[in-house]
């Protein structure tokens, strides 16, 4: 008997179905009344940080950097028609992406949904790698790696992560390097595929113009039950200190770009929803567009509209990143650090805290319109052992005291680093 749970949120007036499919796959379906399109994502918990593969005896063996992304490119191919050619016949728009901690294959369509779903489930379950096609792809991905080296936002971030982390694979480019991808072979791709693409390590999330019956009709027919389990991630040792506290690189940009990172240390490898939300509130209270710091930096011509922050977290890593464009990145970094100190000494205004929460509430609601966003969030929440409404419920429980405690544990300038891109 298949287990179908309904996950609801009454305030939002939303619900979705959470299904443990007999094949081993978790299937999440949010039917949306009034929508004409449907978005589906078939994702595996396998991203660029997974540079180790678990062997039968439980030990781990290294795989080349960039393998997850490489595999994503290759999976579109098959012996006859590739996935793009198959989707072309239905009119769907299909794509795929690799992030630090997952790989997703997706389509959106406003017609022929069942046919599209069948193509998606089928091509992801049927790898076809040969040495010849692997070699051809090495050239294409080599070009992609080069292209990213011309993109300043990308470079400023990876330089910051490389400054921060000694060992964690989050420091490496998602596509790997020319040298690392040169080591990839067809056999290696099959090994990784078998380890990470078993249905127990994956999720299918769908939102839009569809029903449970429609999805299961295809899933029951096309999904092939497999032996397997959720792939295990290895905890990698990482020193508390940053590797370097400053770096700069020249690129053809007009205004210098910067990223200031604060490395954190925690006892557990992953942050909870409450920790993430508390940090979002904390950062918005320190440096959001409504703050004194923002006004000071803006009025002193030290930042422009592209100033922002991110709580950057994943398995084994968490850090705060402030980024922007400035003719004087070092002064901006000093000002941010000073402001953090001021908050440590003076604490937080309850009224500002409530205003920030009100904004967050509105922004979470605004983020629940689009089927692509909803389906992606359903998939990501599942991998984090949450549901798509967890944040929405959790934010209510955050207190100003939580924010103060979060600051006590984080944003320590002794573990900060500044990455700068200068014009050449």
């Amino acid at each position: 008997m298949m287990k179908i749970n309904e996950i609801r949120n009454d305030l939002l007036g939303e619900m979705y179905f959470d299904i443990d499919h007999p094949s081993g796959l978790k299937i999440l379906i949010m039917p949306k009344a009034g929508y004409t399109s449907t978005y589906a994502i078939f994702a595996t918990k396998y991203g660029s940080i997974d540079t180790m593969i678990e062997t039968k005896d439980g030990s781990f063996r290294e795989i080349p950097e960039g393998t997850a992304h490489f595999l994503e490119h290759k999976l579109f191919e098959s012996e006859d028609l590739d996935a793009f050619e198959r989707f072309a016949k239905t009119g769907a728009s299909a794509n795929a992406y690799t992030s630090f901690d997952r790989t997703g294959y997706l389509f959106s369509c406003s017609a022929n949904f069942k046919e599209n779903l069948e193509i998606l489930l089928d091509f992801v379950q049927n790898p076809y790698f040969t040495q010849a096609t692997v070699e051809k792809e090495q050239g294409i991905i080599g070009q992609e790696i080069d292209m990213y080296k011309d993109i300043p936002d990308w470079e400023v971030m990876f330089n910051c992560l490389r400054n921060m982390y000694h060992n964690l694979p989050v420091r490496i480019d998602i596509a790997g390097t020319q040298e690392s991808i040169a080591q990839i072979t067809a056999d290696m791709l099959y090994d990784c595929y078998n380890n990470f693409y078993n249905l127990n390590n994956m999720v299918l999330a769908i939102a839009g113009n569809t029903t449970v019956e429609e999805v299961l009709e295809v899933a029951d027919r096309v999904l092939k039950p497999v032996e397997g389990k959720m792939a295990q991630r290895k905890v990698i040792e990482e020193p508390r200190e940053v590797l370097a506290d400053y770096c700069e690189k020249k690129l053809s940009v007009a205004t210098p770009q910067f990223m200031l990172g604060f490395k954190e240390e925690w006892d557990t490898p992953e942050r909870t929803a409450k920790e993430e939300i508390t940090m979002e509130i904390l950062l918005d209270m320190i440096s959001g567009p409504s703050t004194d710091l923002y006004k000071r930096l803006f009025d002193a011509n030290l930042i422009n509209n592209n100033f922002g922050f991110e709580y950057f977290t994943g398995f084994g890593y968490s850090c705060v990143l402030f980024a922007g464009e400035s003719n004087d990145p070092k002064t901006v970094a000093e000002e941010i650090k000073k402001e953090i100190k001021t908050f440590r000494e003076n604490g937080f205004d309850e009224k500002v805290f409530e205003r920030t929460k009100k904004k967050l509430y509105g922004r979470m609601i605004m983020g629940m319109n689009d089927v692509d966003g909803l389906a992606n969030n359903m998939a990501v929440s599942y991998f984090a052992n949450e549901d798509v409404f967890t944040d929405f419920e959790t934010y209510k429980t955050v207190t100003v005291e939580d924010v103060r405690e979060m600051l006590d544990k984080t944003l320590d300038e002794r573990y900060s680093t500044l990455s700068v891109i200068l014009p050449n």
Binding site: L11, L12, A33, G34, Y35, T36, S37, F84, E85, F87, A88, K89, G91, A92, S93, S108, C109, S110, A111, I140, Q143, D146, M147, K149, D150, I151, P152, R162, G208, K249, K250, L251, S252, V253, A254, T255, P289, S290, T291, D292, Y294, K295, F298, D299, N301, N304, N305, E325, R355, T356, K358, K359, Y361, G362, I365, M366, M368, N369, D370, N424
Partner: protein, 425 residues
């Protein structure tokens, strides 16, 4: 869809739906692309960050936070040879407000305060604010070079359209912006209120009548003299021009500008859209499936159709040594489309794919707003479904005929000067 004329040359279009959790409003104000472009380009940024009631960006930002994080964004667009000042607002739908607040209507008032009642200094804008916004706009213009893909496209447009209004950068130039005075900008603001063709597009569940009443009242005090807008379509074929620039980059960017021979925006536009799509649109297109996938000549390669000016821009990222091969192959693929050398499958894939993405516009408030806002200069608006119907009725021969009229005008190549820094890891 609700349509209403609010004032002379001002149209309100409202789609009433409770499908979304937000209310979304776009106000688009269109003027000709001309010598006043810089003075107008800075306006939306001056207006969006403050107003008479909330005189600095921090105060205004806090007001927006209290309105459940409502977000306002302003920008300038170029569509054909019109210059459009665009204001967008997104707020939560009133049904999610916690204390019975009426968020949507308050947001409309606020947006109107920004546009109609800015912070003034006599008959001018305050000098310190103008200085700050000039600094930001100059940085924005200079930073357009950071994204090499867009930069190469922009350079190709500058060259190709240097004798046409279309060649004017929507943000103006650094020199022009630096030379702007507060008085000039203020005059540009008065001109826009008086002369711009305006469309307000709204998507959400709120009642349209109070919104229309607010807008009507705001426009009532303005003596409207809407301008006439138009775009020159050039069909004359000239000897293609080639320009190459060097920069310290790793991957080269090749942009090819082509003219379609269209006489106006509606001239054969639907068959042309399909022709360009088969040439360089979806994954079934010639540029993707042959030039990129089969021949591995570039990392990306696609063609974009700008019906509002009747031009096609091909963009690709290539290794510098492949430049000749890529250029020749791109042109070869275009001539294959013009010879009818594409399968019935390609033809039906293109129609299905274009239809699918056009129909999908119905599912986000942003895309619904954009769909109608881009039609602001038309007398009557087409729904996505109506446009999709037109696609279905196009015949293969019409597509071939359309492709035959496309010709090369300008090639711009951005290549490496050999100085791109390697990683100092």
């Amino acid at each position: 869809m609700h349509f209403e004329n609010i004032a002379d040359g001002v149209r309100l279009c409202a789609q009433s739906t409770d499908k979304f959790k937000t209310c979304r409003i776009n106000i688009s104000m269109a003027m000709p692309l001309d010598k006043d472009t810089s003075a107008r380009a800075i306006l939306p940024f001056i207006l969006q960050r403050r107003c008479a009631k909330y005189p600095d960006h921090t105060t205004l930002s806090r007001v927006l936070d209290e309105l459940y994080g409502a977000s306002v964004s302003a920008g300038v667009l170029k569509r054909g040879e019109t210059h459009i000042l665009s204001f967008n607002l997104t707020a939560i739908d009133d049904r999610f407000a916690l204390d019975g607040d009426t968020v949507a209507l308050e947001c409309v008032q606020l947006l109107c305060d920004m546009i109609f009642d800015p912070l003034r200094d006599g008959n001018s804008f305050p000098a310190d604010i103008v200085a700050q916004e000039k600094r930001l706009l100059v940085e924005a213009i200079e930073n357009e070079m950071n994204d090499k893909r867009r930069y190469a496209l922009m350079r190709c447009e500058e060259l190709m359209f240097r004798d046409e209004a279309y060649g004017i950068n929507r943000l103006g130039t650094v020199d022009e912006v630096n030379a702007l005075t507060p008085e000039e900008i203020y005059r540009a603001w008065e001109d826009v209120l008086r002369e711009a063709v305006v469309q307000i597009t709204m998507v959400g569940s709120m009642d349209v009548y109070p919104v229309a009443a607010i807008l009507r009242e705001r426009f009532a005090s303005i003596r409207r003299e809407p301008t006439t807008l138009g775009t020159k379509f050039i069909s004359k074929v000239r000897e293609p021009e080639y320009v190459c620039e060097e920069m310290p980059i790793k991957q080269g960017k090749l942009v090819m500008g082509l003219r379609t021979g269209m006489q106006n925006e509606d001239d054969n536009t639907v068959p042309m859209r399909i022709a360009v799509d088969i040439f360089g649109g979806g994954t079934y297109s010639k540029l993707f499936s042959v030039v990129r996938e089969k021949m591995s000549l570039c990392y990306y390669c696609s063609a974009a159709f700008f019906a509002s000016k009747g031009v096609v821009m091909v963009q690709s990222g290539i290794e510098d040594i492949n430049e000749e091969k890529a250029k020749n192959e791109i042109l070869n693929q275009l001539s294959l489309v013009a010879q009818g050398d594409f399968s019935d499958d390609d033809f039906s894939s293109s129609i299905k794919s274009l239809t699918d993405s056009i129909i999908s516009n119905n599912d986000t408030p942003e895309s619904i707003c954009a769909w109608y806002a881009t039609q602001m200069l038309r007398g009557s608006l087409k729904t996505p479904e109506e446009y999709a119907d037109e696609l279905q009725s196009v015949e293969r021969q019409q597509v071939i005929n359309a492709a035959k009229t496309i010709s090369l005008d300008t090639i711009f190549m951005l290549k490496s000067n050999g100085e791109a820094a390697d990683d100092e890891d």
